[in-house]
Every structure is written in C-alpha cells, then in structure tokens.
C-alpha cells in the first residue's frame, strides 16, 4: 500500500486494530430506531403556540388590501402578522425576497400573512379567515416569455428580467472548432425536482427575558444561518442561539434561510411566547425551493482518434419569482464542463431569468447532475459519431493525477481511469456492449456504431436491454465560495478516558457524527463508545461553514483528527513522564498506553489523565482545539481557481430494460466505482452511494414537480413519484482509494457524488438499447414511448435512421 506524502494523513497503529475503513453503525441509529430521537415536530415548549402561513396561491399580483380582522377576532388566535407588522429586510442570494410580501407577489408560494394560535387547528382556521384583495398581473411562465418584447417586469430593479449572467472560458473555442473532426450539438432539458425530505420543514422560535433568541432549526449551515437570520430579524448575532434537533433529511434544502423561519421569529416576538411552525406535506411541496431546472445547449467536438477539442455551453435558468441558491448552481455546472476529462477549449454563458414560477435552491450535486447529464449524454453522442466504444473515448480523455485543469483545479489525486475500468469490469461492459447492439433492429431504428450481428435470440420481444455509462467530477474537500471554508473542533478528555468532541459540523443523517468519532477514537486509542459528539448548538460548538459541497468528512474530519492528534501528543508525553519512557516508545490502543512494538498494556489512559489532573507537580486537563482551513482558494472574477483541496471522481454503469410497447424503462443493475480517497466508514459510505443511486434513478425516470401556468400540479406523494423498494436495481459498489495527501487518513468527500452520474448513465443505456437519444428528463414511459414512436415514424418516412435530434456536422 503506497504511503501518502503527508504524515498527517496516516492513522496511528495501522498495523494493529484500526477503526478506519470498518463497517461502523451510526452512533445515533439506536435513538432513531427506537423512536426516542426527538425531531423538531416532537418538541413542545411550555406555552408554545403554533404558527401557520398564508401563501398567495396566485403567481403574479398586486396586494391591494389584507383584512385580518376576522382572524384576529378568533378565540385562541394570539397574533396575526402581515408585511406591515415587520421590518422588510431583503434577503436571499438576489436580495429580492422578504419574509412577508408587501406590495406584490411574484410566485404562488409567496408568503402574505401568518398566524400564531393555541392549536394547529385554530391556526389553520384563522389563515382561512384572512381576506386578501389582489389585482392580478400578467403572468410570466417561462424564460422565453420573460425575455419577449414588452414582457411584464417581475422585480422593478431588474427591468430586463435577467438578474444574473455568468461567463466563463479557457482556451479558444473557435480554434477548438477548427481542430475538430466531429462536432455534436444538442439541447438538454432538466426538470424541477423536490428534495422530499421525509421530515417536513419546521422551526421553533423562543425568546428569553433578555430578548435573546433560541431557534430550534433544521438548518444544515447553522453559523451562516445565524448570521443571515440576525440581519433579517434585526437581532444581534450574539443574541441568537441555533440548536438543531435531529434533521429528517437535508440534501441541500436547508442551506438557505427560508421565509417561514423569520416569520416564526416575528410571531414569537409579537406574542412573547415560543412558536412552532411545521409544514404539512403539501406546504413542503409548494413552499420549499426545488432543484434548479435548466436548459443546457451544448456543442462539443473531438478529433478522429476521440481526443476532445472543445465545449461551448449555453445555459438558461428559470429563476422563478425570487432568488435562492439555485441561481448560483452554474458555478458548479461550470466546473464539470471545464474539467471533466481533458478539454483544451471551453466557453460557457449562463442567463438566469426571472419568471413567476416557484424558485430553486441547493440540491445534492448543486448544478452538477444537470451539467453531467448534458455532458455525459454528449460524450456518448460523440462516441457514436466516431464509431468508438463509450468506454474507450472516456479512457482516452480521462483526467490524470497531478494535472491542473483548464479552470485551475489541481488534481492532487485522480482515480477516474481506475473508476472507469472498475465499473466497466464489474458490469461486464465489453460483453454486454456487443450483445445488445443488434437489438436495436427490433425497433427499426439504427444507431451508430453500426449494428453488429446480435447474439440475442429473442428479436421479437418488445423488451430490449442496454448498457450505458457516465462519469462524474466534483469537489472532494469543500468549495471555497466564502472567505473561509473551515471547521472548528474542541476536544475535552474527562478523567475516565471519555472524550467530548465539539464540532461545528452538522449531522443531517449522512453520518458525519460517526465518522468524526471514529477519527478521534482512532487517534486516541479509545473505544468508540468513549466518544461523544456535540454538533448541534452554536453556543457550544465552534464555527463551521455547514453541510454542503461534500465537505464534512474532509474538512470537519481534518479538524477533528488534528485536535485529537494534539491530545494524543499530550497523552503520550504525560504517559512517558509517568512511565519513565520516551513518547515514541509508547502507543495508545484500546484504552491503554501500550509499549511499542510489543503492544503490552502499561497503564490505562484514564489513569494517565487522572495523573495529570490530580498530579502533584502540575495540575492539568487535556483539552485541545483545532480550526482547520482547507488549502483551497476562492475563485477569481473569471471563476478560475483551485476551490477545493481535492476532487472526487466516479463512474456508474447502468444496465436497463426498455419495453418498446409501453416505454417503461427499468434499471436492472447499477455498477458504481468512486474515487473516495479512503473509506472511513464502509457502512456509511455504501449508504451514501446507495441513497444517491436511488435519488438519481428518481431524477432520471419518474420525478418531476410539474408547474403549469406557474402553478404546482402535483404536491403529493401520490402524484410526485419517488422510487420505492421495488424499483431497486441490483447494485455493485466499489471504492477506488487514491489516498489524497490532504484528506484525513486520505479521505475525500462522497455526499453528492453518487447522484451525479446516474441519469446520464441510464439515458445512455436507453440509447444503447433502442438507438433513441432522449435529452429531456424524466424518462417517463410517455416520453420514452413518444420518442420511440417518433423514431419509428422518422425511419418510415426518410428511410434514414435519425438516432438523435442532435445536429451533427462532419468535417472532411
């Protein structure tokens, strides 16, 4: 096993029992499995009231009057507030939102009034008794409408309805075009999907006698949240404490302050009582932001030998009626377009456009699943044009360790080639590729590479099989989009060898608590049960930027294990003095100070700590702190820069079955290989990959929050389809351990990666099965059948075989 360059990346006692890489059950799992875990909706404070919000229910309208008298007159109603009762501090990334709307509403989910009452039932009735008089305004339902001449202006400060534009380039795209032997161009449409956290959104706001605010919040970014909330509600940050109860799913949805949160604070302030506000499922669908929908126009080229030459990207984002983080997701899309595979010339232009639709925030992958769908579909389209195997074209262009990408990202480690080879091997790529290629005649459409003789006997069956692959590139150790991307840890050893780890990082179900405890236990040679992690209270824990950018294992892990390594040094020095040995002659194993190399226990760690505490010469406690700031740099104004200390790679191979009569696509098998640097908790990391695959299958095949005429059509689990147990494909998951020198024990992040390549891998497999390229998600049976029928019709009329809508150009 090659040793990493940095000494800090290696765990002590490797040759002995190590916790690193083992299957460790989550520390919080027993609480959750017994029903004892107290989620936000399980908490009740004395005299607590229940909050409820009135949403506009119309997409674009002037508010003429709000009559709250009937609601206020109800018994049990303690407060009714509208925009006139609060400070209207603009917030959100575009500073275009307020907690309650004053003059007009710009999307159906706009918050207009709110109530606090003795029971949830009274609150709901009171909401119904608020009378709002609106004057409806013309509704803008798409970016095209928003850009048309004479289009209604949605926010007066942005008369062209285009609040953000981004441009990126490296190299010279025109030169890339000249140097291409083949060029493919296509448009990819990515839909709105909802996070569907099983626990709905909620908050409890509680003031004390001195005006200090405690917020029980589901935020995944507690310190940024505190800062933002402070500004919105006009309370100094030092008077705000954020406590996070167990969080019923995050996936990026809790990366922003949402209007319901300051609303609840205003209700608590007005009533001088604690107020809890929890969404119903319908409210969750209607009034929480989605994944950013995108239309991506991508043109790219290659030489005859498959070497990529250029990419030219145009993206249009429907920003909806307000701006949350969705508008910034092209920052990450950009990094995939610029840097997945080696490509010398890249250009990207993005327009973010206001409409009266609902708006979008962060969602696992942050613009990358969208970009990867476009790019990895197009890589297969290029391969088809060139008559190349999709695996070969990817291997030819794969990034290599040590290279710096066109956007300035330094690939300290890169296991892309190994991921491609591993996933392809596990999937039986070579055999299955050739086996399925002949089936396409079943449909009548042919695809390139030209049909080979099929080895499958059952040509007449309406069900055909296909195999497809896609890769991913993502940040592996956070993304420095703020001035600091760091995390603090405080570590306290008690007299009995128990350790309290106070970490700024948050647990949202992903397992960071367990990973951090493992690292600390490993460093200190203590059993895992001796480690307690406190990670949910801003008044106790040190600063952290939050759960995003797949950063927690890397950044919070680095912070925790460095704090633990310092404590380890103190323990070893104390033990050496006590035992009259040199520190390097000693090790810490399973709660004992042991002799190297025999491993013979000399003294319990607890006794060493007590010896320091109650010592005669000098009384001392062991407490250490570490603030870890990753060695990454914020992007410059041209979006260039090494925003993460390491990068994650992966390959998924999907095997699918397509029913040509019904359009139903079934994923039979998914082989995933991920460069994770180093596995810390095998059980946890498998869970991340399995969960990402399931979310990715949903994104690809069945999930869409449908919005028509700016209204949401399917705000229920009956009409919004999530994958369930019976949709589960056979899984084969592998980890490529490249041991990043900057990672804790060599680890990189994993959280977002597994979702990213799922949809294009499936779409490529559908193409492989049918010869039909579908560039719009989700691949519902209707859409697939429509495309298959279209391909049949095209073939019947032209005798040709248009396997894709892409415009293609070949150069002589």
């Amino acid at each position: 096993m090659p040793e990493p360059a940095s000494d800090v990346a290696v765990e002590p006692g490797t040759e002995k029992k190590t916790l690193i890489g083992k299957r460790i059950p989550k520390l919080d799992a027993p609480e959750k499995a017994t029903g004892l875990a107290r989620y936000l909706e399980d908490l009740k404070l004395p005299r607590m009231l229940y909050g409820k919000i009135l949403f506009a229910g119309r997409p674009h309208a002037r508010i003429l009057d709000i009559d709250t008298s009937a609601a206020k007159a109800m018994s049990g109603v303690r407060a009714v507030i509208t925009a006139s009762d609060i400070e209207l501090v603009p917030f959100g990334y575009g500073r275009d939102n307020t907690a309650l709307k004053k003059d007009k509403v710009t999307c159906v989910r706009d918050e207009v009034a709110a109530v606090a009452a003795d029971t949830p039932q009274i609150a709901a009735q009171a909401i119904e008794r608020i009378r709002v008089t609106y004057e409806d305004l013309p509704v803008v339902t798409s970016p095209e409408e928003a850009l048309a001449d004479g289009a209604p202006i949605i926010h007066s400060k942005v008369p062209d309805n285009t609040p953000f534009r981004y441009d990126y380039s490296h190299g010279d795209v025109e030169r890339g075009i000249r140097e291409s032997d083949v060029i493919v161009e296509d448009t990819y449409c990515l839909q709105r999907v909802a996070h569907c956290c099983l626990g709905t959104s909620g908050i409890i706001a509680d003031f004390d006698a001195q005006g200090r605010l405690t917020v029980h919040s589901l935020t995944q970014v507690p310190f940024l949240y505190k800062h933002d909330l402070s500004r919105i509600v006009g309370i100094a940050p030092e008077k705000i404490r954020i406590i996070q109860p167990p969080i019923g799913g995050g996936f990026g949805s809790k990366l922003d302050v949402h209007p319901f949160e300051p609303i609840c604070v205003f209700l608590a302030r007005k009533t001088s009582r604690p107020v809890r506000l929890v969404f119903t499922r319908e409210e969750e669908f209607l009034a929480t932001p989605t994944r950013q929908p995108m239309v991506i126009h991508l043109k790219s080229g290659a030489r005859k030998d498959g070497t990529f030459t250029f990419r030219d990207v145009g993206m249009t984002l429907d920003n909806g009626g307000h701006t949350s983080w969705g508008a910034t997701t092209p920052w990450i899309s950009m990094r995939t377009f610029s840097s997945l595979y080696r490509v010398p010339h890249v250009r990207q232009h993005v327009d973010v456009i206001y409409t009266n639709n609902i708006y979008a925030c962060a969602f696992r992958g942050y613009g990358n699943p969208q970009a990867t769908f476009a790019l990895e579909s197009q890589v297969d389209q290029l391969a088809a044009e060139l008559g190349m195997d999709p695996l070969e074209i990817r291997l030819r262009n794969a990034n290599q360790p040590g290279e710096t990408t066109g956007q300035g990202m330094v690939l300290s480690t890169c296991g892309l080639k190994e991921c491609l080879e591993t996933a392809a091997r596990n999937a039986g790529w070579k055999e299955k590729q050739s086996a399925v290629s002949g089936q396409r005649s079943a449909l009548g459409a042919t695809a390139k590479p030209p049909d080979r003789q099929s080895s499958i006997a059952n040509h007449q069956s309406s069900v055909v099989r296909g195999i497809g692959m896609a890769c991913l590139f993502h940040v592996g150790g956070g993304a420095k989009i703020y001035r600091s991307d760091g995390c603090g840890t405080m570590l306290k050893l008690d007299d009995f060898g128990g350790v309290t780890v106070l970490t700024g990082s948050s647990e949202i179900g992903q397992g960071s608590e367990t990973v951090i405890a493992q690292m600390v236990a490993q460093e200190l040679g203590l059993p895992l049960k001796n480690i307690q992690v406190i990670n949910n209270d801003t008044s106790l824990t040190p600063w952290d930027v939050g759960v995003h950018a797949s950063r927690t294992t890397f950044v919070a892990g680095n912070s925790a294990f460095r704090a633990a390594r310092e404590a380890r040094g103190k323990l070893l020095n104390a033990a050496a003095a006590r035992l009259k040995k040199k520190p390097e002659e000693l090790d810490l194993v399973e709660g004992n100070v042991v002799e190297r190399p025999s491993g013979e226990p000399l003294e319990s760690i607890g006794k060493i700590i007590r010896g320091l505490h109650f010592g005669r010469a000098r009384n001392e406690l062991i407490m250490t702190t570490h603030f870890y700031e990753p060695p990454s740099t914020p992007p410059d104004e041209k979006h260039m820069g090494n925003i993460s200390p390491c990068y994650a790679f992966g390959t998924h191979v999907a095997e699918v079955e397509v029913d040509l009569d019904t359009g139903v696509v079934k994923v039979l098998k998914m082989c995933a290989a991920h460069d994770v640097g180093r596995v810390i908790n095998r059980l946890g990391i498998e869970g991340q990959v399995e969960g990402g695959i399931a979310q990715g299958i949903g994104y690809c095949l069945c999930e869409e929050l449908k919005v028509e005429a700016a209204r949401v059509l399917n705000p229920t689990f009956t009409d919004y389809k999530l994958v369930t147990t019976t949709d589960l494909p056979e899984l084969n998951i592998s980890f490529v351990e490249t041991r990043d020198p900057a990672g804790p024990y060599g680890a990189k992040g994993i959280g977002e990666s597994p979702l990213i390549p799922v949809a294009p891998a499936i779409a490529n497999a559908v193409f492989n099965a049918t010869g039909v390229r579908i560039t719009e998600l989700p691949l519902t049976p209707e859409r697939v059948l429509m495309k298959l029928n279209q391909a049949r019709a095209d073939r019947a009329t032209s005798g040709d075989s248009p396997s894709t809508d892409a415009k293609r150009r070949k150069k002589g």
Partner: protein, 163 residues
C-alpha cells in the same frame, strides 16, 4: 374546529397498556398517539397515507395511523415503535436496522420497522421480493432501501443473517 366540538372517550390498548383518553371525533390515531399519548416515535410524513412514516400495528395489521380515526380503535390493540423496546433492549428488528446501516436521517425508520414487524409476524421467512413488496408503501429518501431490505432479510428464518 377540534376545540369547539365535544371530545369523546376512547379506551384501547397501546403497547400492552390499557389507555383511556378523550379525543375529538375527527382526531386521527396518529394525532392521538403523538399529541395525547406523547408517543412521538410515530412520525407524520404526509398525512395522506402515501409515505408510511406513521405506520403502526393495529390488531396485528400494519396501518397508516394518519388514515385511521382514533375512535375506530375503541377496544383495539395498538403497537408502536416504542412498544418494541423491552427493558431498554432493542428489538431484533431495531438492532438489525442499526447494525445494517438501514438508518440515516431516521425519519422513516419507525414506520419501516413497524412495517417490517408486521411482515415478519405474518411471514417469518420472507424472500427478498416479499420484503420489497411489504415495504413498498414506506418511502425513504436517504438510504436507497438496500440496507433496509438487507436488515429485514437478515431476520428471515432460514435466510442469510449477515450484512
């Protein structure tokens, strides 16, 4: 209007204990369990019987407690996730969920465990397909279901018991 209408007496057995409580006629079993009995292990996920987070056992059958009127449970026996844990020891299903990594955010977990309990009571040696079908009505957004199915299969009599 719950507060305006007279409440009615409901007597039933919850986790082996006789309970009597006054409830509004339109109160659901989920509301009574969570609000009146403070058995908050049973979760609200959708209120419409779509997600399974509120699954409990009613007279031996798994139900979505959000769709059951509390007063319909007069004289019935209810088992919730809290009732599985005896003397602070995890029930084998709870332990299997912990050990197999079947818990992430944990919000669907009590419902999943109750649905699994109902399955294993009825069919102690289910096949993988039977497990999947039995849990099809319980949504999970974190795990991708694999480890949940593995956890239940590990308890199938005569089946594989390893993760």
């Amino acid at each position: 209007m719950q507060d305006l209408i007279d409440k009615l007496e409901l007597a039933f057995t919850v986790n082996g204990e006789r309970v009597s409580v006054r409830v509004a006629p339109q109160a659901t079993l989920l509301e009574v369990l969570r609000e009146d009995l403070e058995l908050t292990g049973t979760k609200y996920g959708c209120g419409e019987g779509e997600c399974g987070a509120c699954s409990v056992i009613l007279d031996g059958k798994v139900v979505n407690s959000c769709l059951v009127l509390a007063l319909e449970c007069e004289g019935s026996e209810i088992l919730t996730v809290e009732g599985l844990t005896a003397n602070g020891r995890l029930h084998p299903i709870q332990k299997a969920f912990v050990d197999h990594g079947a818990v992430q955010c944990g919000f669907c977990t009590p419902g999943m465990i109750m649905a699994s309990y109902a399955l294993l009571e009825e069919n102690p040696s289910p096949t993988e397909d039977e497990v999947k079908r039995a849990l099809e009505g319980n949504l999970c957004r974190c795990t991708g279901y694999r480890k949940i199915v593995d956890a239940v299969l590990s308890l199938a009599r005569g089946g594989a018991s390893d993760a």
